[in-house]
Symmetry: C2
Subunit: 446 residues, 2 copies
Amino acid sequence: MSKRQLRLGAFLMLPGHHVAAWRYPNVKKENLLNFEFAKQQALTAERGKFDMVFLADGPTAGYRSHAFEQHSTIRFEPFTLLSGLAAVTSKIGLVGTVSTTYNEPFNVARKFASLDHLSGGRAGWNVVTSHGIEAANNFGYKEEPLHAERYERAEEFVDVAKKLWDSWEDDAIVFDQEHAKFADKEKVHEIRHEGKWFSVTGPLNIARPVQGYPVIVQAGSSEAGKELAARTAEVIFTAWQTLEEAQAFYRDVKSRMDKYGRHPDELKIMPGVYPIVGRTIEEAEAKRRKLLDLIPESLGVSLLSQQLGVDLSGYPVDGPLPELPDVSEINGIKSRSQLVRDLAERENLTIRQLYQRIAGARGHREIIGTPEQIADQLQEWFENEAADGFNIMPPTYPDGLDDFVELVIPELQRRGLFRTEYEGSTLREHLGLERPANQFAKKTLV
Amino acid sequence: MSKRQLRLGAFLMLPGHHVAAWRYPNVKKENLLNFEFAKQQALTAERGKFDMVFLADGPTAGYRSHAFEQHSTIRFEPFTLLSGLAAVTSKIGLVGTVSTTYNEPFNVARKFASLDHLSGGRAGWNVVTSHGIEAANNFGYKEEPLHAERYERAEEFVDVAKKLWDSWEDDAIVFDQEHAKFADKEKVHEIRHEGKWFSVTGPLNIARPVQGYPVIVQAGSSEAGKELAARTAEVIFTAWQTLEEAQAFYRDVKSRMDKYGRHPDELKIMPGVYPIVGRTIEEAEAKRRKLLDLIPESLGVSLLSQQLGVDLSGYPVDGPLPELPDVSEINGIKSRSQLVRDLAERENLTIRQLYQRIAGARGHREIIGTPEQIADQLQEWFENEAADGFNIMPPTYPDGLDDFVELVIPELQRRGLFRTEYEGSTLREHLGLERPANQFAKKTLV
């Protein structure tokens, strides 16, 4: 296969990415925490030859939201769900969002190593930080940590995890039964990490992951996030509305990589895309309308407030956005807040129009149309240095994913943009990423 | 079924419980971190109608042990392995050891809830604390925590977890699609826990577990451990060498339950048993000898040192134990240290003889013989108030478990002591334990 290939993630958020997905007719209560249902979705994605399933996560139930009662916030925890999916799939990558804010590097590095062994090298880690007071209060803190501190901790956390994954060299396990030598201690290393945030001696109690490290995914689009991504990320999951924004981001991040000794191909930029697929454009439009009609006003305002980092519950819903504090004062996802503000200004939207615009995709790009129209829009970004692939966010499960796999994937395959069969067996192989060298292994002079 | 039934756990420690199991002829390197192999063992245990598989755990590689090179210490992490096994089994319980020392209650409660939903109600939690400086150093501590502090933290940790599991009442999810009401906020509770060790607001971000709580297992046999077990444990995994010791422990713990308003049947006492099964006694003895011959002297001394909490590496291996510090000065597993001391004194053993006695069972009871002889010994303890069942610790996998399932289980079934089919589908149902009431649900007056 010579032509550059799209990378695709199936962003598995049950019962769907649309904020009121649970109200959609084909969505059932008994499927909310149903492993068999989640398994069917992963098998559908694997049938579609997706590079990976992708799980979001956060450590709160959103209890303090005005719209708590209208929102489905319960979900499987990523390590447990991905491990279950590992056991019943054979090729597809398994990417979990795990926060560095209220976890210990030893515990997280160990679980990812375990998942990577369990799945034969299919694990990926979407590295995030946890913001918000509700999260802080679940872990003994009265105040939420500052944005800068969260990022600083995250960066050190990933460094410690990599050291732990490297603490067993690939050939450390000798297994010499005759001479009673299980491991070669010369090839197992205490990491003796002493940093600002962590002090960890090691070694880990599991062999080096099949992939060396799980694939490192990041989502941040702030200045700090872009720099961190250029240094360490292998996949970026990001949100853009327009080709120009996406191109600017793509150029910006890739151009920062050279100073870290990295080639642009070592990082795959995969914006989120929320597709509404119809056999005709009318069918797609009708689906979109049906989804919009499911959003209670209070839920829409609540979601918009969360995305902006500002409480809008006191303002007329059919009026414009009020004056907002500067984005620098938001201790949430700054880049998302800016994106939503830009959208409102560009299109001169009321609060209601604005929440309707983000209620499905939550700031990600919404694409609507026939399979050909969807493919056209993906292809445009892919061929114009705006994206290396996409994280697909179906409005509802199972319908939204079924539609994409049945209708859009074959169109992408016909155009030679997407694989018709897996070429390798690890997530790194799917994405065309090298297996990292071990930082503790002695280099052999050539 | 009227006759009281044995409860059986398959203690899945790969490649086996014998300290040098990895040297046994049928043990293969490629099965060390091989999910397919672990799956086959779980399926064998399920075919044998075991109540549960049981995973031990600890957060170190034993790197500072004198015998590090001779010991297999790498392993899957319990949540990931059990979740994988949940996906490929249908009845057997899934019990994981998870420490309260270097974890957060919100994270642990959430993962167990997720595992319980994923498995349809088959999760169990063996609650332990983590001792030792090597563990402490993996989590930012220069000193290991004191025994009393570890237990105090553990007790509060479990209380917080139970509150979190109860934070969603069983009927909190309304799923009223028409009126846009997903959850009833009156039935979802902030727990607002403020204690010495933890401050956690909640609620959890997953529905109440299928079983209410996962089954709570404990292993401690110290005074503090027994009291905690009488108050909160549903299964005790413990280690005894003689019928008399086991009976005394059984009586002691069960008699403490009344003051907590609990019936003795609400707690199942399941000592560990290390079985060496042969079709003849000679075959069994030959297996035992073969296993003993695999233990390098330094590994035996190291294991014994660890079990006693005292470094014996400087003493003549064919001499007696030296004078040891009082057990109260050991900051490890006090009860295990006492048990090994008692064994040495009772049978007047040298260091070598002593490590050979514990090298397989690690302080647990070793039973050797034909299937009938094994069954006799299990039955004796079961019918004389020493045990409600046993946690079976095969010397090696797959052979040791295969032998037990092929040879011993049928004999227990013939005697009417063990089920021939699962009667229920949750671990609580297997063990005959009630589903706990929700502490936050309003009681209805009758």
